[in-house]
């Protein structure tokens, strides 16, 4: 029987039989690559029944559904908070969804939904607060109680986008540090970050989704969980596949589920996940042998806050894992945002579960789609660029008389005059307030009162980006400059307010 099956491949039922009898051959994805390298695909295919994978990273589109049971008198919860984090109320009276990225109202950016899930899994008490409008059947309008996971009827992780097949490498072109969901990015491409386990990633080891789909049993947060189907933004064509998953939090461990805080960005949930890939055919043996050297991703400039960020090149996961990448011909250090140590550990634990006969494989009732696409948003408004709102800049040169500049401010009814050199390049800015102060302080030279370090913007920048810059630096105008630092206009907070009809 075994001989005839060799040509037709294995079935999941056969593998499960071998798990039961204790004959199953399991290797981690890392071991599989070594085995194929040393003995070839034929041997690896013959010897290996299952390849285990793993990943551990921040997965924001996650959360937990909980049912807290009915109070007496009962309440139909309208709004609820756990540890000051608002938890949404998607259904009937006492079902709540703890969204991983929802932040605490009293300790935002540091504590959020992800931390609540971790705390509950760790056995900690949390404070639940709820309000309601009251109904004939649910008269209660206020609730204050303290609960642990033992008080919950259901406590399930229900994540709608997890386990990205691969992700981009992020860097920053700006002159300032930026804080993103890809971490802290230093100015002028001084560092980079990436995410994902590369050749250990579950979806990467089954890139055509032959074995993964609805009902696939997986390692999730230290317990057994299930794939519910493809995740949101699943993009198989670009090898950016994702999955939707479910798992029983009461069985999970905080070692593989932990809240995370991204400075100035928000909170998230770190999730450990592993999928067993049954080696049903020779093709899967070959696919699970994929190495980090063969997985490439784009280096992307997060300094440009647009949907399509500029790409600066391609890099392999092998290079990323080396800790150093080349950006614009310069070597810079690159940080991982996900833990390779935990990813490896997960693939090892999953292997031992299967070997011990405590984890059986399940055939998906429907595999993940291989042809769906991820479209951008259909917007009813169009992007507004600085160039459409900017006005002509009133300019002066540094050696002009203060009085002449003051007159120009009055005759043009403006508050800002941009200082330029002969070529029209920016040298500074002077405001009506600077002139007022000059009079008060008895200063007469323009050079003594101009601001030389000026925040500027570009014509092709979105209005939102320019507004954010104005707000962040508490300023009221930005000179608009071109690539040669030549002044081409000025945008003021007043112009922006007018456009927004405020």
């Amino acid at each position: 029987m075994a001989a005839s099956k060799e040509n037709n491949g294995r079935t999941i039922a056969e593998i499960n039989q071998k798990i039961k009898s204790g004959d199953v051959q399991v290797v981690t994805a890392e071991e599989m690559k070594k085995l194929v390298e040393s003995s070839g695909i034929e041997v690896a295919y013959k010897e290996v029944d299952v390849v285990t994978t793993g990943t551990f990273g921040a997965m924001c589109s996650s959360g937990a559904i909980i049912n807290i049971g009915h109070s007496d008198p009962p309440i139909k919860i309208q709004k609820a908070w756990i540890n000051d984090v608002e938890v949404s109320h998607p259904g009937a009276a006492v079902d709540l969804y703890i969204g991983a990225s929802q932040m605490s109202e009293t300790n935002p950016f540091e504590y959020g939904g992800g931390h609540i899930i971790e705390d509950l899994i760790a056995g900690k008490q949390v404070e639940l607060r709820a309000i309601s409008y009251g109904t004939d059947c649910y008269p209660r309008t206020k609730l204050d109680t303290v609960i642990t996971k033992d008080d919950l009827n259901q406590f399930y992780l229900l994540n709608f986008r997890n386990c990205y097949q691969r992700y981009v490498c992020a860097t920053n072109s700006r002159d300032e540090i930026i804080y993103t969901y890809m971490g802290k990015l230093l100015p002028r491409f001084r560092n980079a970050t990436y995410s994902g386990a590369g050749a250990l990633n579950p979806l990467m080891n089954d890139p055509d989704y032959e074995t993964i789909g609805i009902g696939t049993r997986i390692f999730l947060g230290g317990a057994q969980g299930y794939v519910l189907g493809e995740g949101t933004q699943h993009d198989p064509g670009n090898k950016f596949g994702t999955i939707m998953v479910r798992g029983d939090c009461k069985q999970m461990s905080p070692e593989f589920i932990s809240g995370g805080a991204f400075t100035k960005y928000g909170t998230s949930l770190y999730i450990g996940m592993g999928i067993p890939i049954p080696i049903l055919n020779k093709g899967l043996a070959k696919k699970t042998a994929l190495r980090d050297e063969e997985i490439f991703t784009d280096i992307v400039d997060y300094g440009v806050p647009r949907r399509d960020r500029p790409k600066l090149g391609k890099v392999s996961y092998a290079t990323l894992k080396s800790g150093e990448v080349t950006i614009n011909d310069r070597k810079v250090k690159v940080s991982s945002m996900s833990s390779l140590k935990k990813a490896k550990k997960i693939s090892c634990i999953l292997k031992s579960w299967i070997e011990d006969g405590t984890f059986y494989l399940s055939a998906p009732s429907e595999t993940l789609p291989t042809n769906s696409v991820c479209n951008p948003m259909k917007q009813s408004d169009e992007i507004v660029l600085v160039s459409t709102v900017a006005q002509a800049a009133v300019t002066c040169s540094v050696d002009e008389d203060i009085k002449a500049v003051a007159q120009r401010i009055i005759s043009n009814s403006v508050n800002h005059v941009v200082v330029t050199d002969k070529s029209g390049a920016i040298k500074g800015i002077v405001t009506s307030w600077d002139l007022t102060r000059a009079i008060a302080e008895g200063k007469t030279r323009l050079a003594d009162i101009i601001t030389k370090k000026v925040f500027t913007t570009r014509p092709d920048v979105s209005l939102e980006e320019a507004s954010r810059k104005l707000a962040q630096h508490h300023i009221s105008a930005l000179p608009v400059i071109d690539r040669n630092k030549k002044v081409v206009g000025l945008i003021t907070s007043e112009d922006i307010s007018k456009l927004r009809g405020r």
Binding site: G57, E110, G183, N191, A261, Y270, S339, L340
Partner: protein, 140 residues
Amino acid sequence: MKEMDRILLRFSEENVEEPITSQVILELGIPMRIVTATINSLGGDILVEVPKVHLKKIVQAFKAKGVVVKFPKLIEVNYDLCIDCGACYALCPVNAISFKEDNSIVFDENTCIGSPCGLCVDSCPARAISLVEQNRNNQK
């Protein structure tokens, strides 16, 4: 490379203007590497690296000139909280953060320069890193 030790030299309001560090270097003829230096209204702190073999001699020389010498702990890493992601790794300007063979993160406390930098602190999603304040009123 010679084995080095780090000491924090604490100057008071009274002696901060005197060229004590230079004097010690000249008197002992031992080069020291100044890692960071900060001066404020209360005096000044200089973090220096000195050859381990001459540590005793150097500490004595500074103490004799009225300088408080401390062996500073500049950074505190809570490895129980650390999830070994490595978000901090690429931010360190002095390569004090590295991965061990088993992919876990390790801080070299003798290389870290502490509060003048602190770039890694707010990059940690697990909030496992904190700077140790060199409290002037708490002269341990």
